[in-house]
Each structure stands twice: as C-alpha cells, then as structure tokens.
C-alpha cells in the first residue's frame, strides 16, 4: 500500500481510538461536578460515595485519554510533516494555548482529585474537580478550533509557493472564531456530555435492574437523566446550526451528506438511504425538498450539488459520508425520544417502574459513543480531498520521506498496544462496576468510616 493510504489509516485508527476517552472524561467530569456539588451542599454522604465511585472510572478513562492523546500530538509531525509545516503557524498557537491553559489545569488538579481526599478539605477537593472538568473543556476548545480552521480557514494569508507555501496568521481572533468553530465546539461538548451521562445512566440502570445500591442509583440516575435530556434536545440546535455553516462554507460536504448530485436544484432530505455514486442515485425514504427547506425555508430553493465541483475537488466516498451522517442523526433523534419519555415518567413519579426502559438505558451507553465517532467520520471524510479546505490536499500533506514500511511498523505496533489497552479498559471498568460503589456487606455509613 502506498504511504498516503497507510498514513490515513494510521491517523484514522489512532484518532478514533483516542476519541473514545476524552468525551467520556468530559462527560463524567460534568456529572462528578454535580454529584460532589450536591455532597458539598447537602452533606449527604451518598453523594460522596457516588463521587468516589465515578472518580475511579474517570481515572482510568482520563489516563488512557492522555496516553493516546500524546501520540496524536507527535503524529502530526511524524506522518504529516508537509501539513505540519503548512499549518504550524496557525495550529501552533492553538496547541500551545491548549497545553498551557487547559492541560496544565487539568493535569495538576488531577493529582489532587485522585489522591487528595485525605489531604485537602472537601471544598478544596470540589474546586479540584471543577478545575479538572474545566481543563478538559478547554482542551476540547483548542483542538476543535484547530480542526475547524482546517474546515473553514479564516484570519490567515498564504505565504510562499510550492513546497515553501504555508498559512500564516493575520488575525488571531478571526482564526480562533472562524465560521465553524463556535458551533462545532458546542456540538462536541454536548456529544461529550451525552457520552458521560449515558455511561452513568447505563451503570445505574444495571444496578436498579439487579436491585443493588438502589437508593444511590436512583439519585445518580436522576442527575444523569436531567443532563441527558437537556443536552440531547439542545444538541439538535447546535447540530442544525453546524449544518448551516457547512452549507455556507463547505457546499461539497453538505451535498455528500445528503447524496445531492444535481448541480443546482431543490435538494431532498433523507431519513435513511443508500447512495450509488456511479448512477448518482439515492434510494431511501426522503422528504422531497427537505434539505432546501432546512437551509432556505423554501422547498424549491436551489442547493449546490456535487456535480458543481470537478471530480477531484469533491469527497470520494459519498455513500460513507451519507451513512455516517445519517447514523449520527438517527441516534440523536432516538436519544431525544428516550430521554423525553423517561423524563415524562419521572415527572409522573413512575420513572423506575418500567424494567424494559431500564434495560434500554443499560444498553444505550454505546449510542452516544457511536454518534461521536460517525459524526467525526462524516466531518472529516466530507472535507476530503482537502486537508485544509480549499488550500492543501490530503495527498500532499503526508511526510514525503517516510516509507510505507515505517508506517506499517508503527501501525502494527499501535494495533497491538491499543488492543491490549482496550481490553484492559473494558476489564477494569467492568470489574469496578461489578464490585460497585461499596462493599454491600457493609452499610454505606460503615463503609465511609472504613475509607476515611
């Protein structure tokens, strides 16, 4: 295989694996802030037990997120050297800001969060929890800013030609607040909150089904359900707003997301379907003119289609972009329905009576994870063939002097180590869940005496 394909496979694999963990850390961070906040406010020890329990799972998640994240930081240079020289001037400041403002904050407070229970007061511990949570939120900001700049470049000019061409910052704030960054940051945050909330919902639904830790599980379930309901609803808004930015700035991506080929004509909105790239036809269930309506509030409004772009300037994998995008939306819709129904039962005071609902929650932990992954696949594959939209092509961005054998070597190394890491993650999280927040032989109050 050639170097470009291998470099892309390696990047896709390492970033997708990495992206299992940071969203979970951000989401669990938010939930821990609520749990520990309730503990500080009410003094109810049950909230302390919950915080301590989730902290253990958070610690593993966070650790793997950091370890796999460092690899990403170096991989731009090792595998995408031309790209790194091209965007260094832009990317660099975002990365430096992430390191200093976000990473310093989260990693320094992490030590206190994990090991400081007996060394600092509950209030200081709570502040550390907030510090770690905010740090992880900021990390997402800078990294999404950098990626958004690749999608919708702004605040820059191109200097030099040929090999020496590169983008340089002309306006820092225009670069940071490029057309897509704000919507995408919010969208990514919300995806992360959902990943965390649904893990908590799943685990406590499991306990409720098994009739273990019933009292604290009800408390945790309600906290997470509250967050999940609000976020899945508002996720729809940021998603819609993101799509509008795509329509304006990356018409070829939008066209690929809905399989819209016609150069300029009314575009349909599919609920699901299958794109045949050769015949340029989509078979599936659609709302005729739906996409036109979503963008211009007019079913007849023309939308730029894929055929308006030369073949080499539009995404190659139209069906993949279409499918990933639609899976994300379907999951989003399902989560809205699920959380709204559960919240309705909560309001009626019958939340924990339906076993089938708890079963759905127990399994739905995977849904936000899948949505996060496919959402990014759609965003990144839809940007192709560009690595920096409109300026640098992916097939120009990789390291020219690295050989395919070298990448094959590192790819195999990553596959092996990450497979082990994933098994360890599943094993240890599963073990912690099976064991539960405290030894059931002891009652909670005794348990707390035992730990402190």
């Amino acid at each position: 295989m050639d170097v470009e394909i291998l470099a892309r496979i390696q990047f896709a694999f390492t970033i997708a694996f990495h992206y299992i963990y940071p969203p979970l850390s951000i989401g669990l961070g938010l939930i821990m802030v609520f749990m520990e906040g309730m503990y500080i406010k009410t003094g109810n020890k049950q909230y302390e037990i919950l915080t301590r329990f989730w902290l253990k799972i958070f610690a593993i998640t966070f650790g793997i997120g950091v370890a796999t994240g460092i690899i990403m930081e170096f991989e731009f240079g090792t595998n995408w050297a031309v790209y790194s020289r091209y965007v260094g001037d832009i990317f660099g400041s975002a990365l430096a800001a992430e390191g200093l403002f976000a990473f310093g904050l989260e990693s320094a407070f992490l030590g206190i969060l994990l090991f400081g229970w007996n060394r600092v007061s509950p209030k200081v511990h709570f502040i550390s929890t907030i510090g770690v949570f905010l740090g992880s939120m900021f990390s997402a900001v800078w990294i999404v800013v950098a990626n958004s700049w690749q999608q919708t470049p702004a605040g820059y000019h191109i200097v030099g030609e040929g090999f020496n061409a590169r983008a340089e910052v002309t306006d820092f704030w225009a670069m940071v607040f490029n057309p897509s960054s704000v919507d995408r940051i919010i969208h990514v945050w919300q995806g992360a909150f959902l990943a965390g909330a649904f893990l908590v919902l799943s685990v406590h639904a499991y306990y409720l089904l098994k009739e273990r830790y019933v009292e604290i599980s009800k408390k945790a379930f309600k906290i997470a359900l509250g967050i999940a309901t609000v976020i899945s609803l508002t996720q729809l808004l940021s998603g819609h707003s993101s799509a509008e930015v795509v329509a304006e700035n990356q018409p070829a991506k939008l066209a690929a997301m809905e399989g819209h080929y016609e150069e300029s004509g009314s575009a349909d909105l599919y609920l699901f379907g299958w794109v045949n790239d050769e015949t340029q036809e989509v078979t599936g269930l659609k709302i005729p003119g739906g996409l036109s309506f979503m963008i211009d509030q007019d079913f007849e409004a023309p939308v730029t289609g894929l055929n308006a772009f030369p073949k080499e300037d539009r995404p190659g994998q139209v069906n993949a972009v279409f499918q990933f995008y639609h899976i994300m939306i379907s999951i989003g819709m399902f989560l809205i329905g699920l959380t709204l129904y559960a919240s309705y039962l909560w309001w009626k005071g019958r939340l924990f009576e339906k076993k089938w609902l708890l079963k759905i929650f127990a399994f739905s932990v995977l849904l936000p994870q899948i949505a996060n992954q496919v959402g990014w696949f759609a965003a990144e594959m839809g940007r192709q063939p560009w690595i920096v939209y409109g300026h640098l092509r992916t097939n120009e961005g990789f390291s020219q002097e690295v050989s395919s054998n070298q990448i094959l070597f590192s790819l195999i190394l990553f596959l092996v180590v990450y497979a082990i890491l994933f098994l360890l993650f599943i094993y240890s999280v599963n073990k912690k869940i099976k064991h539960g927040p405290y030894d059931e032989a002891k009652n909670p109050d005794e348990f707390l005496k035992y730990v402190s």
Partner: protein, 345 residues
C-alpha cells in the same frame, strides 16, 4: 524582525522551548529515574511505595513534554515536522513506551495476582529505561546532525543509523542521570528499610553517571567537530561547563550529608546546565545537516511568523504564572513521605 528587550522573537522562543524541555528533563527525570530502580526493590510493598511516590505528580510532570512539543510545533513548525518525520522509528518507539508506562502505573496494583504485578513491573521498568535512552539518542543525533538535503528532506537510514556509538553513549548518560535524579527523589519520599536500600543504590547510580558522563564528554570533545567553536569565540560561555561540573560534584557531597532536598536541586541544575551547554553550542541551529550547512534547520528558517510568535509569547506570559501556581499547590499538597491509603495505586 521584531524584538522584545533587544532579543529577536525566534531567539526568545528558542529560550522558551529550552526552558520547557529543561523542566521536562528535571521533573520527568525523577519520574523515569524512579521507574528505572523499580526492579531493584524486591518487596511488592516497596515497589508500590515507589510508584505512589510519583503517583499524584507524574501526570502533571508529563504536561511539560506536551507543552514542550506544542511549543516546538508552534514556534518552529519546520523543526517539529523535520525532526519527527526523520527520526520516525525512534519517536514511535518512544511514544509506545510512554503508553506502556502509563498503563503500567494505572494497572499494576489493580490486581493481587503475582504474575500480573510482576509482568507490569517488568514492562514499567523496561519502558522507563527505553524512554530515557531514546531521549538521549535523539539528543545525540541532534548534536551530530542528520542527513538533511534540500527542502529538509531526510536521506539517511531508518533506525540503525540513529543508533551510532555516540547516540548510545548519550543514551546511557541520560539513563544514568535520570537514575541519579530518581534515587534522590525517592530518598525524599521514603523511610525505613527502603530508604536505607536507596542510599546504597544512589551510590551505584552516581558511579554509573560519573563514568558515562566522563566518557561522553571525552568523546564529544575528541570526535564531534566544532563543538567548542562557540566557546572559543565567546569565552564567557565557559562559565556554563564550569557550573555544570560544580553542580555534578556537589550532588555526591550533599547526598553523603543526607541533604537530599539540596542534592535534588543540584542534580536538577546539572541537567539544566548540560542542556544549556547544548543550546549554546547549537544556536542558532536547531538540527544540523551533515550534507551541507545550508540545509540545516535553524531558528530562523524554521520559525513561525513574527505575528504568530508575538501571540504565543503573550500566551506564555499569561500562562506561565498560572502553571507555576498549579504546580506549587500540587507539590505543597503532596509534600512529605509517601503514605499509602485506599486511593493509592
């Protein structure tokens, strides 16, 4: 070219990157160093204490690597891209060992089984040794230069060309330096029999360091052409090797008096002075080309734009006091000897 306090921006950023990597070497130096003594402790409890000595700190210390690499990318994108893509295999191995090391810390004490803990102990030890060794290898290759042609394209071998005699010597010196640093740090964190064992181990570590340090220095002076040029031109810089030598000599003296906190300061200073020596010698080159000096990566042809450097210097000015604050708070909280509790690894 823009200036601040009479120094041009690329030079200022060179100082920033240098400081960040010194911080990384000093802080992760004792983390990796502690890890390289791991198999020298026989009892499981001693090994747990050694891991928990760095337990709350290592994640924060690692931030210096992340910020350092970020700063290199930000300020000298050409250097970041050229160095990492040329030294592909050493860096990939380095990264892999970093992942294995983090996993070992997290998972080692999670199970009671003996085979589990022993396996992780070996992985942990090996990872720390290779991380330190590879850092030395990279440093040595930067000092010697690599085969760069036009457009910063690398023409040399994949892996074994990096493992030349000099690289192995600098690699071993890095290992020994970190081991010394790690032993002193663990002496501050432990008591009782483990402490007594460490005083014995520290002596061995210092002998290892002094031997490899002397050999490497000699090799550098004899075989690396032009390493003393800067110093001949500017005799004032001779003060740095003198200071480095004094700092080295001070470590055994303070250790024998059991003043470990001061010993740690002086062994940290040793690293700082040695890196300063490298920095002064290389300046303004970042990565010399052995094919021709016109192909070398320098702070001027590698630098980001003046505008970008200006923004990042502002970010550093705002961020550094914050970072210093977090670190002071963290180190103050975990000051003193290790005490295992239910939150420990």
């Amino acid at each position: 070219m823009e200036y601040f306090l009479g120094i041009d921006y690329p030079t200022l950023w060179y100082l920033v990157v240098g400081l960040l990597f010194s911080g990384y070497a000093i802080l992760e130096g004792f983390d990796y160093g502690a890890g390289m003594w791991h198999l020298f402790f026989r009892k499981d409890l001693s090994r747990r204490i050694a891991i928990n000595a760095i337990g709350p700190l290592w994640d924060a210390n690692q931030v210096w690597l992340i910020i350092g690499a970020g700063a290199l990318f930000a300020g000298f994108p050409v250097m970041y891209a050229t160095m990492l893509s040329s030294m592909y295999v050493p860096f990939m191995l380095f990264l892999m060992f970093l992942v294995l090391r983090s996993s070992a810390i997290k998972f080692r004490s999670a199970e009671r089984m003996l085979w589990w803990r022993k396996t992780w102990d070996i992985i942990y030890f090996t990872a720390n040794v290779f991380i330190s060794f590879l850092l030395g290898v990279v440093l040595a290759n930067i000092l010697q230069g690599i085969e760069l042609a036009e457009n910063y394209s690398y023409k040399g071998g994949m892996f074994f060309s990096f493992l030349n005699p000099y690289a192995i010597m600098v690699g071993l010196t890095t290992v020994s330096l970190f081991m010394t640093q790690g032993a002193i740090f663990l002496l501050l964190k432990t008591e009782g029999r483990l402490h007594a064992r460490l005083t014995f181990l520290l002596k061995k570590g210092m002998i290892f360091f002094i031997v490899s340090f002397a050999a490497t220095s000699l090799y550098t002076l004899v075989f690396l052409h032009g390493v003393t040029d800067t110093f001949k031109e500017h005799p004032i810089y001779f003060v740095i090797p003198v200071l480095a030598f004094l700092a080295v000599a001070n470590v055994p003296r303070l250790a024998s008096k059991k003043k470990y906190a001061y010993a740690l300061i002086f062994s940290s200073l040793t690293m700082a002075f040695l890196l300063m020596l490298v920095a002064v010698q290389l300046y303004p080159v970042l990565l010399p080309s052995t094919i021709g000096p016109e192909y070398s990566v320098t702070i001027y042809n590698a630098a980001a734009s003046q505008k970008s450097l200006g923004i990042m210097l502002t970010i550093v000015l705002i961020g550094t006091p914050l970072l210093a604050g977090y670190f002071l708070f963290l180190y103050k909280t975990f000051h003193g000897k290790v005490k295992l509790d239910d939150t420990s690894y």
